[in-house]
Amino acid sequence: MILAAAPASPADAWLERAPVLLRDALTGWLPDALRPWVAALLSIATILGVFGLLFAYMTLAERKILGRIQNRPGPNRTGPFGLLQPFADAIKALTKEDIVPRAADQVLHFLAPVVLVALSLIGLAVIPFGRNLVAVEMEASVLYFFAAGAATELAIFMAGWASRNKYSLLAAMRALAQLISYEVPLLLSVVPVIVVAGSLSTTDIVAAQGGWAAGLWPHWHALTPWGFSAFAVFMVAALAESNRSPFDLPEAESELIAGHLTEYSGFKYALFFMAEYLGMAALSAMAVTLFLGGWQAPLAVLEFIPSYAWFGVKLLLLLLGFIWIRATFPRLRIDQLTRLSWKFLVPLALVNLINGGVWAATADWTGAAAVVRWFISALGVVVPFIFLARSLSAGYGPRTYRYASP
């Protein structure tokens, strides 16, 4: 099909409006009173479907990519290129015997995976996946997201404690320490974004990142000095919050067997996995929204590609980063983990708070002043980084070696 004429605005393009059109087509025949309810159910079903599938193929992608990085093929037996592997895994997890230790706290042991998945899911409600594609619009949606995600480590604690296993108990303690440490930088790194965008609503924050400087340089927060710093802090804290390597201390296969997962099997185990990937996806989606311009295209000429596709691409890139990091780094120790947070990320985020405030206050500087503004902001990132990084890695370093005299 050839379009007769290019639409006046990218927002009017047929592909862009496809999800909304589809929803209207599906709900149009319903009586007015029912329509919003059915529409809400539809958006929930869509989010569940899309992210469920994303979870399934993330596990496959992770295993494939890890395999490639480690000189092995990864799963390639089930279906073409192993594409049916996630479904085989699901069937296996569903049919496995569910073993609960007799000493376990039965109620909490059952509740933990359920609570974890639920908490990982509800944050997705406020993410704008595309232009006009947000399930719940509210004024304080950023706050909602973090309030919803705050309790995920609580569920991990529940799992660890309820198992009545010593490894699991250690994992529960670690999960708590990790949460207390990393919730702070995660939230602090978001504050400058809120200050600069002047809103707690995810839709407004994405809208604030629209447009291009000189037609080339998108106004994404991650492309400003303070924003880049906040983005980096956010991603490190997000890694820790989603218990991914190198911060996978509650799981710590080589130390605590599987930590809080030690006493879980079958479908409950699969639920933990699902929660891990969903949490990762939710935090990445939030990072895209806050720092990477949400659904905005990187260049004006690329706006013909629908907004949700851009969102998907950015999300997948961040998730790929998670996998790559997992394949590369060793794990930190718990005291190093907390030290990294309190002595590095938190001060950096606090300095960045001021940096973001200055940026917001100087929003009307143009021309040469804009360059000065950039320079000040960059200085506010680089100088504290150098100081903090030096103090963090004090005492460690490469060594030179002697040889025994013959």
């Binding site: 890890l66 990085i69 480690q70 000189n71 092995r72 009545r164 010593k166 490894y167 108990l169 250690l170 303690m173 390597s245 190198p246 996978d248 710590a252 296969e253 080589s254 130390e255 605590l256 067997i257 997992r326 394949a327 590369t328 780094f329 060793p330 794990r331 930190l332 120790r333 718990i334 005291d335 190093q336 890695s393 005492g395 460690y396 370093g397 490469p398 060594r399 070696y401 002697r402 040889y403 025994a404 005299s405 013959p406």
Partner: protein
Amino acid sequence: MMLPDPASTGLARVRKIEGSALGLRTPAFAPEEGAGDLLEVSLGPHHPSTHGVFRMDVVLDGERIVRLKPVFGYLHRNHEKLGEGTSYLGSMPYTDRLDYLNSMTNNWAYAIAVEKLAGIAVTERAEYIRVILAELSRLLNHTCLAGFLMQDCGCSGTPLMYAFREREKILDLFESLSGSRMMCNFQRFGGCRVDPSAEWLAATRKLVDGYGAFLDEFEALLSGNEIVMARTQGVGRLPAALAVNAGVTGPMLRASGVGHDLRKVDGYGVYPRFNFRVPIGREGDVYDRYMVRMLEMRESISILDQALRGLPGGPILDPKSKQRGLRPKAGEAYGRIEGPKGEIGFFLVSDGTGNPTRYRVRAPSFVNLTILEDLCLGHSVADAVIILGSIDIVLGEVDR
């Protein structure tokens, strides 16, 4: 909370730590009276990081180790008693199973013991082949160890897979030479079993030439990695005095700053003909143990290069030597070499019959493991795992 009342289980006694068997433990880590409640965890025998069936009974205060008891014997196979009931040659394949990563060096140490006992000479070509195989074995062992150590540090498999790729190449060489990848049963009294072909030597040459590049890559990725340094530097310090008194040998001893290497000290085989250095560490921590092994591999490459270049012709077995029905006259002999894990030695007593009356193995893994508690006290569980990894044990050799 997971623990019943400490007094009722006898754990209360734990709070007061007795001095170690060596009497060298620093008292700084003894928990103060009435410290937090203790948690007793049994790490192993089935644990991803105990490198086999091995158990550490750990008493924890939070995550800090206040007491650690290594428990082994799960893999005990009566090795020494078997040796006393078997002919001299019959024991050779059993030695493969001691340190199953390094059957070549085990064979060699045993062969030296028997050669001393029976007064058998070794041909020059065989000596060179033994050096080549021993150094390949060292490369194999240290490469694997580096990979395992990184795995213990929490890498999800990548360094281990890189290490195993190189290990496969060496195992392929062993297989094409001896017929078996790990249980080579290659050395004989007075020489070795198979003469390496020109193709085999060319393949070895190729491997040796490419190994430096692999080490460069591995080190570029890991030796300077911030997290690796943070995890390993200052962890599990082994003072030189304790190392010497405990009989620790091999790279562990050298990492503590003692330049003791049997290849230099005994000068067995044809090692005095080669030019190589002995790297030593300063701190004696996990990082030093890792780095000393990495540097040792560079020296091994240099030895291999020299040995391959200088490999003489001639027979591989002394024609006067006897393999079957060996009946050395009454006496005793101790043969030892610098194995990849330390001094591996065999002590044999003969009464003139076809089997030794006493057959004893000095296993480096076993001796090095005795100081595990001294290294781990005051560190966390996560550290204990990498300290154990840096000691480099193989349970086949520890339990025998």
